[in-house]
Each structure stands twice: as structure tokens, then as C-alpha cells.
């Protein structure tokens, strides 16, 4: 198992090079740079001075030199300054990463804690009323765009019931409060965005799991297990469930990766002070150092997601281990 994992990690290196190159090239294609249009309203700085500044910051160097400089700086931990706020990128991201992590973890917990049981119930009761109801729920949930669903949640829990905050990541009044006050408020704020992400993402988990259980139930090894004298409950528990988890493990990587892109939109709807919101405002302000950093960061997270799902697969499935 360790061999498989090690080989898999080694394979990340070319992937990383590819991703950073791609990001760099895409940024290259975008019109303008950090200085274009910046000094239009400042008559004291002419186009000559602008050109000097370009030279000074190395923006006129050939692309491969700028690329290696960028990657080299990142490797040495220097991610540059935000062009808008004149503060280190790392510092700005660090302020937000906690919120995004909290949102993502809560979402993952919600996804698996409601989708796995529902998937199992639907899989066990294939073609019966309970499966039909769950499938119908899946269908409805799948047809609602994230944005609409989030707004409906806001309206219902925030306005009609008035029990959960509409936006933000913490109540400003408790920022200097006790530990419990702070975390209570944070959790309260995270529920709605987490629900909007996870109820939608959970649909695929329910679908995969119930299909798989229904399929596994008809395979020969299940018949063997029944012929051994196991009750159907135990056939499910000892055989079918574990085998049905394989596709869940395999798709967990893309699920987690998809979660981050979901977070981008959701954080904006809820003005949740996380990395997604930072990303959005940075793009609209053309704050490239932050945007580039975040894109690289998300790419690494995505790769890590797939790595984790691959490792989980090798744990679950002996057939793909390398000896």
C-alpha cells in the first residue's frame, strides 16, 4: 500500500508543473498588467515612468524568466503583495482560510452523514416506496441551481423562521467575546452556507451508493454469502456495504474538489468572509498576486482530494495495491 501511495505522490510533481504553467500562460493572455491604467488619473506619472516601473519590476523580462521567478518565489514562501491592499498575500489568505476550512469541513460532515444513510436505505429498498421517495428528492434537489437553493434557505431560515443569520461569518458583537460566544456564532453562521453546498453535493453520493448497493446485491459473491447461511442483514453489513463504498471512495476526491468551487459561489451569496469571497473580489479588482496564489492553492487542494481518494481506494480494494 505504501508503495502505491508513494508512487502516486511522485506523480503529483509533473501535475504541479503543468498546473502552474497553465495558470501563468492564462494570466499572460489577459490584457494589461499591474500598471496598465493605474496612473491615468495621476498626471505626475507619465508613460515613461510607467515603462520604468515595468522594467524595475521585471515585467518586461521574457516569459520563462518571469515564470521561474514566480515559481521560485513561491517555493521560498514569498507569495508577493496584494496590488490593491499592499499587504502580503499570505497574510490576507491566512485571515480567511479558517472560515473556508470550517465551511468545507462542516459541509463534508453534513454530506456524508445524510447521504450515506439515505443511499443505503434506497439501495436496500430498490423499487420500493422508500427508494422512490429518495429518488424523487434527488431529482428535485438536482434540478435546483445552487444560487436559488441558497436564497430559498436564506428566506426560510433567516426571514420566515428568523433563527439563523442571513449573511456574514460571525456576529460583530461577539468578536471580542468568550470562546463559546465566538464559536457559537461562527457555527450559527456556517450552517446555512454549508447546507446549501452539501445538500446539493450529497445527491451524487446518494445516487452512486444506492445504485452500487443494488448492483452488488445481485453479484455472485452475495449469493455465496447467502448460501453460507448469513442473514440478509449480515450479508449487507459484512459484504455489500464495504464493496459498495468503492465508488464512494473513488468519487470522494472530485466531490471534495467540487466542494471548493461550490464554496466560491456560496461564500459570495452569504458574504461569508472566506477565501472564495476573497477570490471573487480579487478577480474583479485584478489583484493578480492573490488570484494566482488562490488558483494554485485550489489546484493543489484538488490534487490532494484526488490523492486522498486514491489512497482510500487502495485501503478498501486489495486489487489495486502494488506488490
Amino acid at each position: 500500500m505504501w508503495k502505491t501511495t508513494f508512487r502516486r505522490i511522485i506523480m503529483l510533481i509533473p501535475q504541479l508543473i503543468g498546473v502552474t504553467l497553465l495558470i501563468f500562460i492564462l494570466a499572460e493572455f489577459m490584457p494589461g498588467d499591474a500598471f496598465s491604467g493605474r496612473f491615468v488619473e495621476d498626471p505626475t506619472i507619465g508613460s515613461e515612468r510607467e515603462e520604468e516601473l515595468r522594467e524595475l519590476h521585471g515585467l518586461n523580462d521574457p516569459w520563462h524568466i518571469r515564470y521561474t521567478r514566480w515559481v521560485g518565489d513561491m517555493l521560498s514562501g514569498d507569495f508577493g503583495l496584494s496590488l490593491v491592499h499592499r499587504r502580503p498575500v499570505l497574510e490576507m489568505v491566512a485571515e480567511r482560510i479558517g472560515n473556508t476550512l470550517l465551511l468545507s469541513i462542516v459541509s463534508i460532515v453534513i454530506i456524508y452523514s445524510f447521504a450515506l444513510p439515505l443511499g443505503i436505505i434506497a439501495g436496500k429498498n430498490w423499487d420500493k416506496p422508500s427508494e422512490k421517495i429518495i429518488s424523487f428528492y434527488n431529482f428535485v434537489q438536482m434540478s435546483i441551481p445552487t444560487v436559488v437553493f441558497a436564497i430559498v434557505l436564506q428566506w426560510f431560515f433567516g426571514i420566515i423562521l428568523g433563527i439563523l443569520p442571513l449573511r456574514g461569518s460571525i456576529d460583530v458583537r461577539v468578536v471580542n467575546g468568550t470562546f463559546f460566544e465566538i464559536w457559537g456564532s461562527r457555527l450559527q453562521h456556517v450552517i446555512l452556507p454549508a447546507l446549501s453546498i452539501s445538500l446539493l453535493s450529497g445527491v451524487s453520493v446518494i445516487r452512486f451508493l444506492s445504485n452500487e448497493i443494488n448492483e452488488q446485491r445481485h453479484l455472485d459473491y452475495t449469493v455465496t454469502a447467502r448460501a453460507k447461511g448469513l442473514s440478509m442483514d449480515k450479508v449487507y453489513r459484512n459484504h455489500i456495504f464495504r464493496n459498495s463504498m468503492l465508488p464512494i471512495a473513488a468519487t470522494s476526491g472530485s466531490l471534495i474538489a467540487g466542494l471548493f468551487s461550490g464554496v466560491l459561489i456560496i461564500e459570495n451569496i452569504f458574504t461569508f468572509q472566506g477565501m472564495g469571497q476573497l477570490f471573487f473580489t480579487s478577480v474583479s479588482q485584478r489583484d493578480w498576486p492573490i488570484v494566482n496564489f488562490l488558483v494554485v492553492f485550489y489546484s493543489i487542494l484538488t490534487m490532494a482530494g484526488f490523492l486522498i481518494s486514491d489512497i482510500m481506494l487502495t485501503i478498501f480494494d486489495p486489487r489495486i495495491r502494488i506488490k
Partner: protein, 338 residues
Amino acid sequence: MKNRALSIKKLSVSFKMNGQYYKAVDNIDLDIMENEVFAIVGESGCGKSATAMSILRLHNENYTKIEGEINFGGKDLVSISEHGLNKIKGKEIGMIFQDPLSALNPLHRIGKQIEEMFVIHTNLNSLDRKNRALELLEDVGIPNPEIAYNSFPHELSGGMRQRIIIAIALSLSPSLLIADEPTTALDVTIQAQILDLMRDLKEKSKASVILITHDLGVVAEMADRVAVMYAGQIVELANVDEIFENPKHPYTKSLLSSIPRKSKSTNRLNTIFGSVPDLMNMPRDGCRFSSRIPWINEKEHEENPKLQEIEPNHFVRCSCYKNFHFQDSSIEKVKEKE
């Protein structure tokens, strides 16, 4: 007179298709004696596997209806509770499956899959379970039991896996063994080994065996008595020698004439006209085989054919056997020469 190990009475097995039930096994009666190997032969789709699977009710229950009686050890397996049946499954009736790769759970080690039998049916502690599992692996001729014990199914060859399946089936010395096409998925040399093994183990354990196969070679090697099934019915039932030397029913004759022989007097192998009708289009009246021997006059068939004892212990269905001849007369001639 030997005792009956299993007695099947008026068994019908129906499968639900498009909301309607169709009988795949139609009203069959069978007695399996103690310590005998009873073979059920026929083409695919004739109901032989459906019969075997219904003994332990292994079909998908949502789509299957089993009617009739299956008496085993004083109990009726058709009407017994799920719980009661689970105590018999594996312990008193062992089952060997066709495809040794898919019949084992790919994610569990071999040892665990064998020991599961002891976990279900005995109170052995883990050390005893392991020792018994290793013994079993040795009994079925696995060269390195310790290695096999810790292997996953995909790490073993097809023949080895089939030995594991046999080890699992025999782990609690059942009095009846159901082997559903045990050699079909194996290549010929391995087939012979597995058949030898099954025969040895059967001699040792004194178990009765129900052998489901479409391979008449396997029947000749293993069986004491044979039932030939066609379209959900038994069409001929006799001792193995009788079936091979004195076949009566046109279907049995056709099957036998379809085996390649070494004799050079014939170039073409006989084939049986047409194919087994599928479940939804199966003829339900008259002689079901008539559509595959259309050159035989309608009048030769009975209107409502029943299994009849034409000689002691030799049963045949439908009178069409009396004047049956092959369409291609050269087959008869070859047979006569032999």
C-alpha cells in the same frame, strides 16, 4: 432401499417479468438418495440452475415465486422461515458455484471467507477456526495453505479459487452438496482435477451431490442418476448407464449426438434445430420439445405428456420417443456402426 436425502415435490419456480410471473421450472418431482450423485443436465435456459437455486431460495425474492415442496431432513425448505433456512444453508447443504472468481468476495482474504462458515454456524474460537480453515485448504489440495489463507481471491488462479469454493462448501461436512456447473468456467485440465477432487471428497464425506451441468462428459464421469431437463420439465430420468446406452427421449438423443466423437465416419456434428424458447414464449401445452423436431409428425406427440416409467427406473416424457428419427439420417447410421 436407500433413504432419501432430498425430496422435491411438484416444484415450480416462476420469475416476474414485465409484471407477470413465468414458470422457469414447471412442476417437477425429484428424489435425491443418500450418498448418490444426481446430475441434472440440459441446455442453458432449461431450468436446471433455477431448480438448484430454489433449494436454498437463493433467487432474488422480489422477483421469484417458488411453489411446491422441498423436503430435507423433515423440513420443507419452501415454507420454512428465513431464520430456519439460514441454519441449514451452508451447514447441512453446501453449495458450489459456477464462476469461482465472482463467487468470492474480492475484498476479503481467503481465510476470512472460509472462517465465515465457522463464525456463522459454530462457536469455535479464532485459533480453532484458523486451524480448521488451514486443514480444509490442505484437504482440497492447495499446495501452500498458509499463503492461500492470507491471499485475496484475485491473487489465485481459477482452479485454486474453485478449490477454495469447494473448501467453503465442505467446511461443515454438509450431507448434501449442490454443485451448479462447477467446472464450466475452468479449462479442461483443471476441470479434470476439480472433478477428481470432488469425487474423492464425496467418497470421504458420504454426502449426496446434486450436479448441475450441461457437460455430458462430466455426467458420465460423476453421476449415478441423471435427469434431463428441457423447458422447465424433466423429460427423461434414469441411471447414468441407461442414459448413455439406451437414451429414449428425442432431446436426450439429440444432446448425445451433439458430442464430438473420435470416429472418422462422420464429418459434420449434429446440432439441435432451433434453440430453447425463452421464458416468455415457452410453450405451455403439449410436448415442449416438438418445436425443435418439426419433421416429426404432430400425431406422435401426446396432448398432455407426463413422465412415464417405460422400463424399471427409466422415466420418459411424451410418446414421441417411440418413432423418433434424426432429420439427417447419416447420424443414425453412424450410431449403428458404432
